[in-house]
Every structure is written in C-alpha cells, then in structure tokens.
C-alpha cells in the first residue's frame, strides 16, 4: 500500500500548493452561510406601511395598533382617500397599504363580519408575499381574540388568505441548502477538475502506464477532497449553530452519516464527469451548469418544489441534493430519527451505487 500512500500524499501537496483555491473552498461556505443568514432574510423587518381608515372607530384603531406593535411594520402615512394610495407606492414611501372599509366596527358588531383590503408593492414579490402573510396572520389573530370567550364569532376577512408562518426563520431553511450546494461543489466539481487536470497535463498517461491500479488513482484523487468536504461540513454546522442558533434536534451521528453519504454521492458524480470531460474547462462547465445550477435552483432550498411545473419537479427528483435537503431538514429541525428518513436515504444510496458503478465502468484504464 506504500505506493498508494505516496499517491495520496502527492494529491494533498497539489491541494496545499494551490492555496488560492483552498482559501476559496474554505472561505466560500463561511461567507455563504453568513450571507444567507444575515443578508438574505426571509423574515420581515420594519416594512413601511400606509393605512387608509375609512371608519376611524375603536375597532380599526385597536387593529392598527396591534399591527404596528408587531415590530414588523412601521406606519409611514395615514392616507385620506383612495387616490393617495397609488402616489404613496410610486414615491416608494410604503410597501403595503391597509384599507379598512367604512363602518368597520358597526358591521362587525351587527353582521359579525367586516373587510380589510391589503395592497402590497409586488415589484418586490418576496417581500410583498411576506408582508401580506404577516398582516393576514395578525388580522386573523385579532379576530380570534375578539371571538374568544363569546358565544358569537367575529370574522374579519382579509382580501387574500395566507397561512401565518409564526417561526419563519430563513437561515434554518437555507443551511441545509447551503450544505448541499457546498458539498456538491467541492466534492463533484473539484474531483472532476483534479482528474481531468492529469489528463490535460499528460500525466494521466504516465500514471496509467505505471503499476498504479485505476481504483487507486481514483481513490487517491478523491481523498483530499473528502477531507476538505468534512472540514467544510464542520464549519457550516458550527457557524449555523453558534451564530444563528440553528438546532440539531436529531442525532448528530445520523446527521454526519447522512452527510458522508451525500459527499460520496457527489464524489462519484465528480468521477463520472471526469470520465466524460476531456479538459478542465469542460469539467468545470458540466459541474457548474449540470450540477450547481439545478442544485441551487431545483433542490427546493430557494424555490419550493411543490410550486414548480411538473417537468421541473420531475428533474428535482433525480437531484441527490433534493433528497439530502429533506433528510437534513428532518434531522436538524424536526429531530426525527432514521425511521423517518430511511426512504430518502435509500434513494441516495441507490443513486451513489449507480453513479459509482457507472463511473468505474467508464473510467478508461487505457487511452
């Protein structure tokens, strides 16, 4: 096994000599987690709103103060009539306008129902959606508290119905996705590049003409990136747990085992790419376009899979990242055990076996 050890040592030397790439590979996940965690929040923070109160009674004032006391909204303007709504949006003063119909309290008392109109600035769709659902949530809560303890019900109907996601913390949604993306990037892309590099520089010929076995060449190439992936995994978990308070409610050992499985899947994908690609550029393009983009866009960590048209949903099924994200979310957020994720795990295992088998078969021992 001496020659194999020497080979792995040489691979580590490559990695260390190319310190720029290594800094990027270690720095990127850190920056991504922090960026996603702090900058790209899905939570609502002090959205400017306007209120058009046609009723100006006790009820509308109560509801208004409840909305404002939530800390999510800041009242920028009391609007006098409908014509001012458009202007307020166009000036960018407000992102949302809440309109109470006239005779709000009276209607509520007599008929048991009243209407609120919520208008949002949909040029920022994410924000609009969130503001909308937050507002609806608060209104719903308000009407429930009115009805509580009384034998009659008060219903305030908001124009649009959406469920209020009470604990919407975006970093919790992003961390599993980032883990999938980073592990995919390092394992698949770097492996495919490091193998094609030998091809491009002509050293692969020499290696193949040497007594090294093909599987030793592959394993040796993969080893440093396996280690690097594990280092990154630790980093991502550590930052998300300490900085963002992300819980790991399930078993840590199970979590790491599942991550190791996903890394193996990604590594075998990388080997497969390298058997197809003739140059480093091609390997990089295939990894970026064929792996990274679908992983980021279709694995369900940015856009919900349920909302995709069926061809994209179908594609998402063949992405290892999709299954990995489901597993990780289950273990970290819901704290479920293996019995709840065994199906997804089986999918990942079969993908890995298939990819590894295919890439070993395709890896040419001759030119």
């Amino acid at each position: 096994m001496n020659k194999f050890k020497g080979f792995v040592y040489k691979e580590f030397l490559h990695l260390i000599r190319d310190y720029r790439t290594m800094i990027i590979l270690i720095g990127m996940p850190v920056i991504q987690v922090i960026l996603f965690g702090f900058a790209i929040r899905n939570e609502l923070n002090s959205v400017n709103i306007g209120i058009l109160d046609r009723s100006k009674d006790e009820m509308t004032q109560k509801l208004t103060s409840k909305i404002l006391s939530s800390d999510y909204f800041i009242l920028k303007e009391y609007l006098a009539d409908e014509s001012q709504i458009d202007a307020a949006f166009k000036k960018g003063l407000v992102k949302e306008v809440i309109v109470f119909e006239s005779g709000f309290a009276e209607k509520l008392q007599k008929e048991g129902r009243a209407e609120v109109q919520i208008i949002t600035d949909a040029s920022e769709p994410n924000m609009a959606n969130l503001a909308l659902s937050y507002t609806t949530g608060i209104i719903l809560d308000f009407s429930q508290s009115l009805s509580a303890g009384k034998d009659r019900s008060f219903i305030i109907t908001p124009e649009i119905k959406m469920l209020y996601n009470e604990e919407l913390k975006s970093v919790f949604m992003f961390v599993p996705g980032i883990m999938a993306t980073i592990l995919m990037l390092i394992s698949a892309m770097m492996t495919s590049i490091t193998i094609t590099r030998e091809k491009e520089f002509g050293t692969m010929e020499v290696l193949l003409a040497s007594p090294l076995k093909p599987y030793q060449i592959i394993l040796g190439k993969v080893a440093p990136y396996l280690l690097l992936s594990l280092v990154n995994l630790t980093l991502i978990l550590w930052i998300s747990m300490t900085v963002f308070g992300m819980p790991v409610r399930g078993s840590m050992i199970l979590l790491i085992a599942e991550c190791a499985l996903f890394i193996t899947t990604a590594l075998s994908l990388g080997i497969l790419i390298s058997t197809v690609a003739g140059s480093m550029q091609v390997a990089m393009m295939i990894s970026l376009v064929g792996l990274m983009m679908p992983t980021v866009l279709l694995s369900g960590f940015i856009f919900p899979i349920e909302n995709m048209p069926w061809p994209l949903q179908w594609i998402s099924h063949i992405l290892p990242a999709k299954w990995f994200v489901i597993i990780i979310k289950n273990i970290m957020l819901k704290g479920t055990g293996f019995s709840y994720v065994y199906k997804e795990t089986l999918v990942l295992i079969s993908m890995t076996v298939f990819l590894l088998g295919l890439s070993i078969k395709k890896f040419k021992t001759r030119l």
Binding site: N2, K3, R17, E205
Partner: protein, 244 residues
C-alpha cells in the same frame, strides 16, 4: 531465453477505417537504443502506447520482457518506464517531491527512494534546486529530470515519446548522454523523434511512413543502402517515395 526485450509481430492498430500502425514487426535487444523515426502522424506514438499498455492493439502479437501485452499488462507496467510526449512531471511539486512520488508508485522502499533520489539529484547537479518547484526550472532541466525519473526504478525498458521536443541542441546532447548511460546500465531504450540528427545517435532505427515500417537498420546501413550521406536524406528519400 534470448536477450530480446521487445518482440512484436504484425502489430496493428486501427481507429475506425484509419490504420495508425500497419503490421509492425521488430525486436529490441537488452541495452539497445532503438529509434522510431517518422513525420508527425506516422504512427510512432500509437506504437509506443500499445507497447505501454495504454492502447489495445487491433491485431498482432507483442511481448515485453517475456510478458505478453494482452495478458500480463500489470507485470509489464512494473518493468517499463514511460516518458510521454507531453511533459510528465508535476509543475506544482518540487524536484524532490516529483522524484519521491514516481519512485513511490513503482514500489521502491522508503530507504531506496531516499538513496536514489539523492543520487539522482547529485548526478544531475540539481542540489540547489532540489526544493524548488518544477515550474521554476528551465525546460531542458525538466526534460532531463523527467527522463531520470522514468528510469528511477531500473526498468527493463524505457519508452520515450519525443522526449526532446522544444529543447536546444546543447541540452539535447546532454539528454542523449543520459540515454547512453541508461543503455550502458542494461536498460533498453525505445525513442521516437522527428529530429534527424538524433537518428544518428540511435543503435538501430526504424523509419515509419504512414503507419508502416518503411526501412530498418543501423544508421550506417540505412545511409549506405540509399547511398546518401545523412539520415535526413534517407528520410526524404522514403517520404518522397510514398508520394510518387
């Protein structure tokens, strides 16, 4: 056992309808320097790749060091050295690391690796550059080092595929000194080149034209049989012959 290290018989390689090597038969003795000469695309590299186990021949027979190239590929790999057309050292590793790496994959023991790399570095006069990256060495030095690394495990035969491409004449001469030294140590050398002056350095030569061996013999024999003064003229004669 005879002392022929390489024996080939009607070795042929086809890529689709194109025949890169057409029924090549030759033999190389122990310690002999055998040259493959020919224009680009004449089939020299294909022939070497088949013998190294990198390409599977379409038909024909060949044995290296008594091992069959179809069946005993693994044993052959232990007994050959190979220097490819492209540069075969790692540019981001140091001289020493390259030597130790190649010595390591040829199953030399740690002690042997140390001894041989020390000897090799001092023979090439590279003591001061032992810890610098290959990238920083001049091309000529790299080529000499690549050759020394290819024979570090004392193979029975070393294959050199256009080893002196882009190297200046002085360094080329030094390179050939290394080849002679290896041959003196009993290592057979199979070298391809399209430099006709290098042909004069070889013990025996096979001239390849369009995948076939057009002529074979010592440089002196070839020159006298075509009644010309230099290998260059022999080559022109053969190459022109094919066009007529």
């Amino acid at each position: 056992m005879n002392d022929n290290i390489i024996i080939t018989e009607d070795l042929t390689k086809k890529f689709g309808s194109f025949t890169a090597c057409d029924r090549i038969s030759f033999s190389v003795k122990k310690g002999e320097i055998f040259g493959f000469l020919g224009a680009n695309g004449a089939g020299k590299t294909t022939a070497i790749r088949m013998l190294c186990g990198l390409l599977l021949p379409t038909s024909g027979k060949a044995s290296i060091g008594g091992y069959d190239i179809y069946k005993d590929t693994e044993k052959i790999k232990l007994n050959i050295g190979y220097m490819s057309q492209k540069f075969s050292l790692y540019e981001d590793l140091t001289v020493k690391e390259n030597i130790e790496f190649y010595a390591g994959i040829y199953r030399l023991s740690t002690k042997e690796i140390k001894e041989r790399s020390k000897l090799l570095i001092s023979e090439l006069g590279l003591e001061r550059s032992a810890d610098s990256l290959i990238r920083s060495l001049p091309l000529g030095w790299r080529q000499k080092l690549a050759f020394s690394v290819a024979v570090i495990h004392s193979p029975k035969i070393v294959f050199l595929d256009e080893p002196t491409g882009g190297v200046d004449p002085v360094t080329r001469r030094q390179f050939w000194d290394l080849i002679y030294k290896a041959a003196d140590d009993g290592i057979s050398v199979l070298v391809t080149t399209h430099y006709m002056d290098e042909a004069e350095y070889c013990g025996r030569i096979s001239m390849m034209v369009d995948g076939k061996i057009a002529a074979m013999g010592t440089p002196a024999e070839l020159k006298s049989s075509y009644n010309v003064g230099s290998m260059y003229e022999v080559f022109l004669h053969l190459a022109r012959g094919k066009n007529e």
